[in-house]
Symmetry: C2
């Protein structure tokens, strides 16, 4: 099987041009088929505030009401996605920006309003393997924003870690998929703040119980374990700087 690298970037790196350029240059140098998935950084919340809206978060996840969905579409699928694609083209990476409705790439269901109403948020139902594989085989590098669609014309905001995980799972039928979830820390930290070399489910549960792993790290790791359970060959959690400096630490997620 051919190796496929899937990298998810998010957080502050999206907001800072010099950091983003460095990450994109490193990404462009990865040989063979690859996919980039990006989060939204702080720009969507900034834009909401500029427009007089109040960003709402529950358990670290955005509540996406009618006004907020337009803002996240503009910022994620528009400004960030096209800026990343243009910058990848500038370093000879033939990127193509995609959101869920493009070629029916990612279909999702609007999340039920109970127990918490997150608004226009989608849970992925189906990844269009065939489309993504054809684009990769044509030498293109898909760059996904975390906007999906419900097949009936509604765009939905989707968690970018989840997008990365489900895309990795879907493509593991065709490729040997290596998934990297890059974020602001160097990996999963133990109780003393040191980067763990590996984490398995037993350690994960222990760290949740002792509140060492909290908030957004819980769904991130759950997405990582889901990927491994469903055929993904390797999952790493690391900083986005790791992409340009392989001497930096990372955490391998193992079953």
């Amino acid at each position: 099987m051919t190796k496929l690298e899937i990298i998810k970037i998010g957080g502050k790196v999206i907001d800072q041009k010099d950091q983003l350029d460095k990450v994109l240059s490193a990404f462009a140098k990865i040989e063979g088929p690859k996919i980039l998935i990006h989060g939204g950084g702080s720009k969507a919340s900034e834009m909401e505030r500029t427009l007089g809206l109040t960003p709402q978060m529950i358990e670290g996840r955005r509540v996406t009401n009618k006004e907020a969905i337009d803002v996240v579409i503009m910022v994620y699928a528009g400004l960030i996605n096209k800026t990343i694609v243009a910058n990848l083209q500038a370093v000879n990476c033939n990127a193509i920006g995609l959101s869920g409705p493009d070629g029916n790439a990612i279909l999702s269901d609007k999340r039920p309003p109970k127990p918490i109403d997150f608004g226009f948020v989608g849970d992925v139902k189906k990844v269009n393997n065939h489309l993504i594989t054809s684009l990769l085989q044509a030498g293109l590098t898909p760059v996904f924003s975390a906007i999906t669609h419900d097949g009936a014309g509604q765009l939905l905001n989707t968690n970018a870690d989840t997008m990365a995980s489900v895309i990795a799972q879907a493509l593991s039928n065709v490729f040997e998929v290596h998934l990297t979830l890059a974020f602001e820390k160097n990996g999963v930290l133990d109780e003393e703040g040191a980067v763990l070399k590996t984490i398995d489910k037993t350690l994960f549960e222990k760290l949740i119980n002792q509140k060492t792993v909290t908030d957004g790290m819980i769904p991130k790791l759950t997405n990582a374990f889901d990927a491994l359970t469903n055929g993904v060959a390797q999952v790493k959690l690391t900083s986005s700087e790791y992409l340009s400096n392989a001497n930096l630490p990372f955490t391998s997620v193992v079953l």
Copy 2:
């Protein structure tokens, strides 16, 4: 040669959901390969005003400064493009939204600042025939926003009529291209306001001289003549309602 329909829509139809839905349903029903190119309606100017910016126009064309380029990327490549694609998917048209940097689809040069500095505005240099043809052959329907890139990471605002014309020209090597520029009138009007059945270059010049054809109609018709001169089989100017009602009038542009 296989027939390829290229339709450009713009103006108020973009802003009004019921009108847009009608146009997209009609577009989805067109058989065979097809491409949609969309303008931005009034949403970009609206968004600029909401953000405290002042939209600037010279000769009916937007001046796109540093702040304005971010707004047009968000609105054209993000909100409008993805809304159109999601709505086409909902009526069984396998649309894929593209802006210039996607797969290096449309490369442009930043327009020189003399005689008028339009800011981050691009004049198309190269259309990626190969990419667009491959997507069409895969059964996909490209939907273009009028955002292009310079190959060095800069996104540029581009006239949507021009985009439609140059895409039509580029693809006329491979397809028998029929180009429709849909707008708010039923076609080109004569001095009494009646829709002309045809317009050729001689009549065009006459109508400019008597000021019957003015402002935005001049570059629109110039784009139409450029298309015909460079291999496009047929060019029509008509209203977007024509797409769902072929009994409405239109103007055929002829050399």
